[in-house]
């Protein structure tokens, strides 16, 4: 598929339909795929394979002042982020050629490590099986066991609003994405408090979640703005740890497409997506099903209302025993 993509990109550039492409290149390790802009001269270095989990759409924002049109490679999940960025005028859709690329789920090397596979030197795939070469020999792993968590609750393999699609996709979703949220909801408040203290106290405020998040695209974040009154660089205590994550989840509520990048990049392994997903679940339950980024121009639920919305006390009323 990678070669087909390269070929199509070159054609588009040569035809004058675009000037550059935003895609992935190989990073420090063989499985690293980092976002990069290519022109027709270096497009050959473009990578698209099972390691391309990263969502590159956010990088288009900085590209907007430039002349010409940019091709962006988007997996089905990335297409939602692109649409959301267009809705918010952060990306001008007219300056983008959205090239959908097929996806059958992306591989999480960390997961292989947690399986006890050390010293990985190469990974090849054939059908549903991965062959992992290590310093200590070869191991076979079922592909589905090595997928990123976000792929296990994929929104579906349909690209939304792209200009064309190359390659086929495969369904990777298993089970209910709100399962863990529901589990937390079923806990007592004290259990929940302990759970989140346990998680959020691990936060080192590296800001990776914020930097990767396509919805967290503010030119200057309130947490970096000394005039905002809430700025802080590093959480000094429990409150500030909570505060940062509450506000982050709140700021992206209704806008978060549930791309799962925040949790993917968290070096501490905090399940940050559970905060966003809680907001999504609430929105769906209280204001009707809503998927951010499903199309351009949507009015998100927190900038909308109906006359008969539930009162905030609904939060107190539901959940029964765990009041």
């Amino acid at each position: 598929m990678q070669e087909m993509i390269k070929e199509r990109v070159l054609t588009l550039i040569n035809e004058g339909a675009a000037d550059r492409v935003l895609a992935w290149e190989t990073g420090e390790f063989f499985y690293d795929r980092t976002p990069k802009f290519f022109d027709k001269n270096n497009v050959n270095d473009l990578k698209y394979d099972s390691f391309c989990g990263a969502n590159v759409t956010k990088y288009l924002i900085a590209e907007m002042p430039k002349e010409g049109k940019t091709i962006v490679l988007v997996k089905p999940c990335d297409s939602y982020s692109l649409n959301q960025l267009c809705t918010e005028h952060r990306v001008n859709r007219e300056k983008v050629y959205a090239l959908g690329v097929g996806c059958r789920g992306k591989i999480d090397v960390e997961k292989l490590r947690t399986m006890g596979i050390k010293g990985i030197t190469a990974i090849t795939e054939e059908g549903d099986t991965l062959t992992v070469s290590t310093l200590y020999g070869e191991k076979k792993v079922a592909r589905k066991d090595a997928l990123l968590d976000k792929c296990l609750c994929c929104k579906g393999k349909e690209h939304k609003g792209v200009d064309e699609v190359i390659g086929d996709s495969e369904e990777t979703s298993v089970g209910d994405k709100f399962e863990m949220v529901a589990k937390l909801e079923a806990m007592t408040p004290d259990e929940r408090f302990e759970f989140w203290r346990g998680e959020l106290s691990k936060c080192i405020r590296c800001n990776a979640c914020r930097n990767v998040c396509p919805a967290c695209s503010c030119i200057k974040c309130v947490f970096d703005n000394p005039k905002s009154g809430v700025d802080n660089k590093a959480a000094a205590d429990d409150f500030e740890e909570n505060m940062f994550h509450i506000i982050r989840a709140y700021h992206v509520a209704g806008r978060c497409t549930d791309c799962g990048e925040c949790s993917r990049v968290c070096p501490q392994g905090i399940p940050l997506h559970l905060l966003n997903r809680k907001m999504i679940k609430d929105i769906n339950e209280l204001y009707g099903d809503y998927q951010a980024g499903a199309e351009i121009g949507q009015r998100h639920p927190l900038t909308d209302y109906t006359l008969s919305d539930d009162e905030p006390s609904v939060v107190h009323e539901r959940g029964g025993a765990n009041a």
Partner: protein, 145 residues
């Protein structure tokens, strides 16, 4: 939970200028008592209440935060309280999800004519917060006296 006899809750009430602040004034004109630990901050509309202010209040030592605005349909700016209603619902849900006591936050719609409701609401809220005790889960120890 604190068994400190001295402790009384500190409560911040954000009131929209048009209905609830006037309702609070009416409670005053009617000499309807409610505890002194409720302090009111006037905001133009319930939709002016930024979740940051709520968190800030807890950080600085509030034990309960209540937002009062015009009844849905009666907003001076037509739609402000509808947005506030969604925003606060989502914020309260998030706080609940983090295990913060549900009773610490509340929204009540109080019209300019409802002085008695204002006083009753405050009395009830103070009671709820007194029963809940000190805010421990969202405190910032550096801000404590």
């Amino acid at each position: 939970m604190s068994v400190n006899q001295e402790w009384t809750p500190n409560i911040v009430a954000f009131c929209c200028n048009w209905c609830s602040y006037a309702g609070a004034d009416l409670a005053g004109s009617g000499r309807m008592n409610y505890p002194a630990n409720v302090k009111i901050i006037r905001i133009p509309c319930s939709c002016r209440l930024n979740p940051l202010f709520v968190l800030r209040a807890f950080q600085r030592g509030a034990d309960g935060v209540i937002l009062c605005g015009c009844h849905p349909g009666d907003c001076h700016y037509s739609t402000g309280n509808y947005y506030a209603r969604r925003r606060m619902t989502m914020l309260f849900s998030m706080l609940d999800y983090l295990g913060i006591e549900r009773g610490r936050t509340r929204v009540e719609w109080v019209s300019a004519a409802e002085g008695a409701k204002f006083a009753a609401t405050m009395n009830d809220f103070v009671k709820t917060i007194t029963d809940l005790g000190e805010n421990k889960k969202l405190e910032d120890l550096r801000c404590k006296k």
